[in-house]
């Protein structure tokens, strides 16, 4: 049998239906690949026994011609998702040993549809980071390397385990979350597809909370079709999340292949930022040409408040994180460091349990919410956020979807940006606006940098118009014909 891990999610799905191989065979092929890829540090927990049990159950259904849309397909789950009785730490020391007595809604949906869980994927601690270097379990290594160079490269973040695992074929697809770019930027850094749907499309119930008004789940996958299949299963209303939206989930896969003839694609001039590398600019121009050649109409648009998006984000996100992370107190779960009284216990537990980036954000959040500063920072930021969202509403009067680069550069080396938090934050310059406005966005691999690393283009859609977004992404993917693969240097 040829290497089963080479198939896409759609390819494996169709082959399982035709009984070309079994889910147990497919799952074993992935467990072997995971075992041989420890050098990437993509998985923090492997659930081999559970995976094989789930695969056997799927095979029984498939044999009878039954089964859901993801029946028998092995997936990786970001460690931010609560998985019943399976270690869930958000890659933080403070959640040591936490085994949730419940399952997140998004993963419940995947198991409902027959998917198989391979294990939990590494991420930046509490999803705070853009390079997967803040994880308590150490950095994830990007399967991609620069040409003729063995320097270890970051896989992006915070969903770096998800992006690396999909790129290295350690799962068919992965769940991820995106608060400021944490699905799209790692997808761009690894030559994979990542979609952050509209805020409210997926339930946040059972996802370890970072910034509740920005957090949203989505998949990272091999291609646009696989992302569409995953999203359909992950999305949907949940009475346990009051911000999840009760509207039907379309068959996203059916939207693909309808072409982009007559579609108006907006190009926001403010995204041509100072100091943007020429190759990113050139990639963007190529993307414009591709969509034009496919029949789309290109429209220049303006999003005048773009430059204020990152500073807005770095008030709103830390403020919400400082509130959300107040629950880690050494009482209810995870780590406890004893102290001379209860306050001392709280302070010692939180000092030992949080890493430096998480501590930095909790302190900033505490400061901007503290007495006397709320109006100057948080209220002001939420007002600017209204203006940023309004920019998009204005732009969508003259276009249906927007095209931008996903990130301002290709992936960088491990350790190259950790000394300067601000330079790390700037990675999210093109993605963070989308979270602030609650819109859907997708990153599609579109080429290689001069150093041989993947580069992505981002499409941004209208609220709950994931179908147009995916249809356009599919056209972009067809034009880009990105089929480069990383050399499998990590195989043990």
């Amino acid at each position: 049998m040829s290497d089963l891990t080479k198939l896409t999610l759609a390819g494996a799905r169709d082959a399982l239906k035709k009984k070309e191989f079994t889910s147990v065979e497919l799952t074993k092929a992935y467990l072997d690949a995971v075992e041989g890829a420890k050098a990437l540090n993509a998985y923090v927990t492997v659930t081999a026994d559970k995976a094989l049990d789930m695969a056997k159950a799927s095979d029984a259904k498939l044999a009878k011609g039954e089964g859901g849309t993801l029946e028998g397909l092995p997936l990786g789950i970001k460690d931010l998702f609560a998985t019943k009785d399976v270690l869930t730490t958000a890659c933080s020391h403070i959640l040591d040993g936490f085994k949730p007595p419940y399952e997140s809604k998004v993963t419940s949906n995947l198991w409902r549809d027959g998917a198989v869980m391979l294990g939990k994927l590494n991420n930046d601690e509490f999803a705070m980071g853009s390079s997967n270097e803040t994880s308590f379990y150490g950095p994830v290594v990007n399967p991609w390397r620069r040409k003729g160079d063995t320097t270890k490269i970051v896989p992006g973040g915070s969903s770096g385990g998800s992006s690396a695992a999909v790129a290295a074929r350690l799962c068919l697809a992965a769940t991820a979350t995106d608060t400021g770019g944490s699905i799209r930027q790692p997808a761009a850094f690894t030559g994979t597809v990542g979609i952050k749907p509209t805020y409210g499309r997926c339930s946040r119930w059972g996802i370890v909370a970072f910034a509740s008004s920005l957090d949203q789940a989505g998949p990272i996958a091999r291609d646009v079709r696989d992302a569409a299949i995953m999203l359909r299963s992950m999305a949907g209303y949940d009475e346990n999340d009051s911000t999840s939206v009760d509207r039907p989930v379309p068959d996203y896969e059916a939207a693909l292949g309808k072409g982009v003839k007559g579609l108006r694609v907006g190009i926001p001039k403010e995204y041509r930022v100072d100091g943007m590398p020429a190759e990113i600019d050139a990639l963007w121009t190529r993307g414009i040409e591709w969509l034009k050649a496919a029949g789309a109409e290109i429209v220049d648009v303006s999003l005048p408040h773009t430059k204020y998006a990152l500073p807005t984000y770095y008030i709103v996100a830390p403020a919400e994180c400082s509130s959300n992370l107040a629950r880690y107190d050494g009482v209810r779960y995870g780590l406890r460091v004893e102290g001379k009284d209860i306050t001392d216990m709280y302070e010692k537990t939180r000092a030992a349990g949080f890493g430096t980036e998480v501590r930095r954000r909790v302190l900033i959040g505490t400061y901007v919410l503290s007495a006397g500063y709320y109006d100057a920072y948080y209220l002001k930021a939420q007002q600017v956020r209204t203006l940023i969202a309004r920019d998009f509403t204005e732009a969508y009067r003259s276009c249906d979807v927007l095209l931008t680069p996903t990130a301002p550069s290709a992936a960088f080396g491990i350790g190259e940006k950790t000394a300067d938090p601000l330079s790390m934050y700037l990675n999210d310059v093109f993605t963070v606006t989308v979270n602030l406005a609650g819109l859907p966005g997708i990153s599609v691999p579109a080429g290689l940098s001069s150093e041989g690393l993947p580069l992505g283009l981002q499409l941004i859609g209208k609220t709950f118009d994931e179908e147009t977004l995916l249809r356009t992404a599919y056209a972009l993917e067809e034009a880009a014909q990105f089929n480069a693969e990383p050399a499998a240097w990590w195989r043990a």
Partner: protein
Amino acid sequence: MSVDQNTVRHIARLARIAVREDELPALAGELNTILDWVEQLGEVDTKDIEPMTSAVAMSMKMRDDVVTTGNLQKEVTANAPGAEDGFYVVPKVVE
């Protein structure tokens, strides 16, 4: 606005994170770099602009006011570093 070491000590106390005295200067520096950078929002005219309260315009769904879950004492305390008879155990808080 800039934060000094006393302010950092105060916010660390509010956040219930123990910070060593020798960490204060570096932390104050880092926080000031970030706070100076977000100061640029001051350029934006936000007079009469409503602060965003929901990323997507929607109205909350109502449900019947009934108990839908409960009796989960065992599950809720299962992960506690200290638990006894279905209660959390913490250092003594009342003398």
